[in-house]
């Protein structure tokens, strides 16, 4: 595994672990999701740059557009959570807790 490949893979996996494990605030979970999207963008761009395959450079652009959609939907959910429960903490989201 080349060092660049190792770096972007570990950036993605670290973001995923940050999203999955113990969080206090919903916003910091959304920021970890954004870090995953950033690692994916850099991975797709480096793919097209290292293989000299210029046709593949549309993939990171479209991925950025869809990731913007996802970020805005996540932030709307955060705002709705904060205005319903009074706080953005993950402990407030306990309706489905057994």
């Amino acid at each position: 595994m080349t060092p660049t490949h190792f770096t972007i893979s570990s950036a993605f996996l670290l973001g995923m672990m940050g999203l999955a494990f113990h969080r206090t605030h919903l916003l910091s979970a959304l920021l970890c999701l954004e870090a995953m999207m950033l690692a994916l963008f850099i991975a797709l761009s480096l793919w097209s740059l290292q293989l000299d395959a210029t046709g593949c450079s549309t993939a990171p652009m479209l991925m950025l557009a869809f990731s913007a959609c996802e970020a805005s939907a996540g932030l709307a959910l955060l705002v709705a959570t904060a205005r319903t429960h009074g706080t953005g903490h993950m402990q407030a989201l306990n309706l489905l807790q057994c």
């Binding site: 060092p3 770096t7 670290l14 910091s28 593949c56 450079s57 904060a82």
Partner: protein, 173 residues
């Protein structure tokens, strides 16, 4: 150049660790800005200056600014930075994990594999990554229309989510 790329890649991993280690969202957004900036310089080192510019403009200047404004929802009197023991423990754990995983691979890393050598193989008029993105407007026009539709749909989704008055996801107001 290999040392510059080494520093940038280490900076990227440290930035993602600083986001993933659960500090207060103010500091996590700062760490994400660092990751995006360093990632842009990595892309520039491989010859992708247009994609790096797009990342800076759209990601940092568009999305992360909105995240920074939403960080006002996370206001607390004593925000946890990376000096708190709970956050520092996560940082050290993730660092150990990355170094442990890297120790599997760094035996086979040699000097020549950090940056590609042939950015400009032949003489050309069109820059590689900008020319590729231009394909999005010609052959890839269908996906362009689809993503424009998706963006419009997302706007409607966001407006519906935050509508309030007992319709949508807002109950209290």
């Amino acid at each position: 150049m290999a040392y510059i790329m080494l520093t940038l890649l280490i900076g990227m991993v440290l930035g993602v660790i600083s986001v993933a280690s659960n500090p207060s969202p103010y500091f996590a957004a700062l760490g994400l800005v660092l990751v995006a900036g360093v990632g842009c310089v990595v892309l520039m080192g491989h010859g992708g200056s247009f994609l790096s510019l797009v990342l800076f403009l759209i990601y940092l200047g568009g999305m992360l600014v909105v995240f920074a404004y939403c960080a006002a929802l996370a206001a607390e009197p004593y925000p946890e930075a990376w000096g708190e023991w709970s956050v520092l423990g996560s940082v050290l754990g993730y660092l150990l994990l990355v170094v442990g995983a890297g120790s599997w691979f760094w035996g086979g890393w040699y000097e020549g594999m950090w940056v590609p050598v042939d950015e400009l193989i032949e003489f050309s008029v069109v820059v590689a990554d900008s020319g590729g993105v231009a394909l999005m407007y010609s052959l890839g026009g269908g996906l362009l229309v689809v993503s424009a539709w998706v963006l419009l749909l997302t706007l409607l989704v966001v407006l519906e989510l935050t509508r309030g008055l007992a319709r949508g996801a807002l109950r209290a107001v």
